[in-house]
Structures are given as C-alpha cells and as structure tokens.
Amino acid sequence: MSQERESLVGLLKQDVLYQEAVHACINCGTCTAICPAARFYDYDPRRLISDIQNVNEQELVEILKSDIIWYCGQCLSCKTRCPRNNVPGFLITALRSLSQDKGYFAASNEGNKQLTVKRIVGENIIKYGYCVFIDEIGTENHPEQGPVWEWYRNNADSILKKLGANYKGEGPGTLRRISKEDLDELYNILKETKALDRFDNIERYCND
C-alpha cells in the first residue's frame, strides 16, 4: 500500500483535484467539443481523461513530460458540461503540479515556459502583493496593450489621481502600496505551503 502511495500514480490519486476530476468517463467527447484549447491546439481532454483512468507508471511519466498537459486554458467550461461530473481542467492542475514537483515538466517545450510565468507572476506577487502591476507591464512584451496603455503608463501619476486611485500610496484604495508587514505574511504563506519550493524547481529545471 505504501509503495502504491509513493508511486507517481499513487501521488496523483492523492491530489484532491484528481479526486474531484476523475469519475467514470463515458467517452462522449462533450468536453472536447466545448474546449477552447481543443479548438486551437492538438489537445483532446476526452482522450486524456480516458487514458488517465488506468494509466501505469511509465505511461504517466510520458504524460507528465509531454506538451499535452500545458494546452488547457483553465476556463473550466468542461466542468459545466460533462454529464458524468468529470473535470478535465482540474485533472490538468493535478498533472501540472506533479510534473513540476518531480521535474518532468522541463522535458517539454510548453513545460519549460513555466519559467516565464514564474518570473512574471511569481515575482510580482513577492514584490508587490499583486499578480500583475502596471509598473511591470511594458508594451515591448505587451504590444497588444496599444498606444492608450503607453500614454497611461507615461502619465500614471496624473491619470490615476484623477480617477481616484491611491497609486503606490499608504492606506486603502486602488493600486495602493501593500505594506511590508502584509507582504511578509504573504511570503511566509508561500514558504509554508511550498510555493517557494515550486519556484525553486522551476528555476532549477528550466532552460533559461
């Protein structure tokens, strides 16, 4: 039993998101029909749910090393529509967690891109306490933001004051500066719950 719990398949099945995601799939394909990722990527959530139900250790390693688990956009439209209460989107979260914890993610092109996500979103959270922050969003990386964004960023102090924000100010309000004490608590949570370990794994395994 303990050997099974320590196997990759065992670890996957311990994840509450796996438990909520995988019930008896009837292979109807509704999830694939509704899936925005399936429309634009070579991705088939029906097949993934179907395969995972009796996956063996080696097959699971191949899945964890593959691009397949990184295509889902997490809209969770699949949860609404599955007639058997399967949730391919939750399964994806469980697979991505395991893949990153065990280092398999860096074997795939898509998995390697987690480095970008960590360095943007992860570092914003630590530095600002926000997932995104205006100071870090330039049109070089985000040309789709358009000229209005360029103008807004160049005049952020004046515009945000006009709109009643508290940009980098003390106290409550839009875009306020989050205090060091609050950021420290957030950092301690990241450490306690092993998010920082995941950040380290991403830095260690990914190709820069």
């Binding site: 990184w70 943007i120 000229p147 006009k162 106290g171 409550p172 309000g173 949570i189």
Partner: protein
C-alpha cells in the same frame, strides 16, 4: 416544460445576495487596467445605495492567476484565502464580496473544498497559523460584486439620467453580455441563472432599457488562458478565441459589450485593436470597434456621471459612438486631460482602428 417544473429548475439557480455591510475583495487586473471601475463600485454602494462597505488596505492578491497558471499549489491559494477571511473577521464583517471573477471562482472552490474535505480545512488552518499566527472563520455569504449591482439594478434605474436606448431612434441598444467563465461555469449554482443562462448582466441590461443579443458563441471563453496570455508566444490562443467571438457576434450589430470579468473586458477591448492593426478588420461602424464596458462603467453612464471620470479614456476601443447613441454630452477635448486638467498629451492614433470622429493622424 410545465410551469411548476420550470420553477423547480430555476430554484437551483437562486442565490443569496447580501443586503448591506460588505467586505470588499479587490481585483489585481481591474485595479491596473480599468482603475476607475472599483472606485465607481464603491461610490455606487456608498453614495447611491447608502450601504456600508469595508475596503481593507491589508488584503493582497488571492493568487488566482498564479494558481490557474500552476506556479503555486492549491495549498497556497487556500491559505491566502484563509488570510483574507481572517482580515474580514478583524473588520467584524461577514459578507465577503469579490470584484474579480477569477477570485470569485477561487473563493468558491476553496470553500467547497473545505466543505467536502474537512481535513483540508484543518490543514489550511495549520498553514495559516504557522505562517502568520492568524486564525479565521469563513464568511457567511460570498457574492460577486456584479451580483450586488444586479440586486440593486432597479434602485439604480430610479436615479437614471440616461437609459440604454438609442436617443435618435428610441429603440433599445443592442447589447452583448459576456460573463467571465469562472462566474458560474465551475459552480453553476453560485451564479444568478447558472452557467447556461446567466442573468446577472442580462438583468441589468434589460432593466436599464437595453436589449440582449443572443449569438452562437455567446458562452465561449474570451480566451485569457492564464499562462497562455502571460507567455508572449502563446498569446495567439487568447487572440484566436476572442476573434471567434467577434466573428460570431458581428452580424447582430451590437452597440456595445458589457462584461463582469477583469480579463474579458481587457481582451475584448484590446484584441479588437490588434485585429484592426493586423488585418484591417473592425467590428463597429465606420472603422470604429465595439465598445467594451464593465458593468460599473455602464451603471455610471446610466447615472449620468462624467464619462471621463469613469476612466473610459483608458479603453483602446473608443466609447464615444455609444455616448452619442445614449445622448450623453461630452467634450472630446477633455478626454485626455490629467489631474486638475493638466495637459499630458494624448495617446498616439492606431493605424487602422478609428478612435475619433475627427481627422485621425499625429500631426
């Protein structure tokens, strides 16, 4: 379907929306991209409806984008949610209302997980204690902030200066309502009207005089995709999904789009600019785009507030065609003034997307 049976089906999708005394959970994306919307919400709650709301300086991100792009474990997100609830407890509040649709999905998922797995709740308590020394109890009610505006849509209408009606023709404006996926697709019973027929925005539109458009891709995701948008080379996923929706809604000639989700508002606005610049394709009349507004911005216009105090100048798709239809007066020369009417220049003009009725060039 017989009437009684229909009533029973809809009973599932009735939700409790608190009347007053709110604790406000802010949105990372909205504060950055539509920075007036949360201020408008607070003004409506306090000044128009006379309710109380607590805006807490100590709150942080819920980590929702990090969780759905998989750089933090679920344990992290649950513990951050627990910290926010602890802050709410200190503020002596019980009604936790959430500005962001991703966060609304997050808090709903966290609370459902604790309900069905009490051992995970205990583990979260331990994590929070170890990391911060805090204890917490969960809110009595969680709701999305669009639920609150929906609840009080009639009171807003009573104070309306403008309706969602074309002033020249007298006909209702034709409106696309776009609901963020995580509002009701994860937990349909937590959204007004469920996932298939959400009524939260449609209710506002109809109450304020507009007409809701049904179109084939109405419930399709805007295409945020979390990691896909953050990673530049994957951003085509987001663009492609948005384009799918615009190609589907175009024939119905919407006057504007109303959304309740931070990312959706942004993507439906900015990808129109990108499609115009890349393909010379625009979806509005005469080279303009279709204006995309948050529900607070729409409420602000209905209440007769100055469009440029609502932050509408920060949209890349021009909103003036909508203002014209509603009969709202504005001075385009004031649009880009800074604080205290400071001259801070104006944004460059796009090549293809029309943003002004005047001659469009940088000379």
């Amino acid at each position: 379907m017989i009437k009684q049976g229909k009533k029973n089906v809809w009973k599932e999708y009735q939700k409790e929306i608190p009347d007053d005394n709110y604790y406000y959970a802010r949105s990372c994306i909205r504060q950055n991209f539509f920075p007036a919307s949360e201020t408008i919400f607070l003004r409506i709650i306090r000044e128009v409806l006379g309710k109380t709301i607590y805006d807490d300086e100590h709150q942080t991100t819920c980590t929702g984008i990090a969780y759905h792009s998989d750089i933090v474990p679920f344990d992290t997100t649950m513990t951050v949610a627990a910290r926010q609830f602890s802050l709410m407890n200190i503020a002596s509040q019980k009604n936790f209302i959430i500005s962001c649709v991703t966060s609304f999905g997050i808090y709903s998922e966290v609370m459902e997980t604790w309900k069905h797995h009490p051992e995970i709740l205990e583990k979260t308590r331990e994590h929070l204690r170890n990391a911060t020394g805090r204890e917490f109890s969960s809110p009595e009610i969680i709701a999305h902030t669009s639920d609150i505006i929906f609840k009080y849509r009639e009171q807003i209408k009573e104070k309306a200066k403008f309706l969602l009606v074309n002033k020249s023709t007298g006909k209702p404006l034709r409106v696309v309502e776009h609901i963020g996926c995580h509002y009701a697709k994860i937990f349909p019973e937590k959204g007004i009207g469920g996932a298939e027929f959400p009524y939260v925005l449609a209710g506002m539109v109809e109450n304020w005089g507009g007409e809701v458009i049904d179109y084939p891709e109405r419930r399709h995701c805007c295409g945020f995709g979390f990691r896909h948008y953050i990673i530049k080379e994957n951003r085509g996923y987001s663009l492609s999904n948005t384009k799918l929706k615009f190609d589907s809604m175009e024939a119905y000639e919407p006057d504007f789009i109303i959304t309740n989700c931070p990312g959706c508002t942004f993507f439906l606005d900015r990808w129109q600019y990108v499609i115009a610049e890349m393909e010379e394709k625009t979806y509005g009349k005469d080279g303009f785009g279709i204006p995309v507004l948050t529900y607070e911005e729409v409420a602000g216009l209905v209440l007769g507030w100055d469009p440029y105090s609502l932050g509408l100048q920060l949209h890349q798709v021009s909103v003036e065609p909508l203002l014209d239809k509603m009969g709202i007066n504005y001075n385009e020369n004031d649009k880009y003034l800074g604080n205290n009417n400071e001259d801070i220049g104006r944004p460059a003009f796009p090549f293809n997307l029309k943003v002004t009725k005047n001659k469009q060039n940088d000379d």
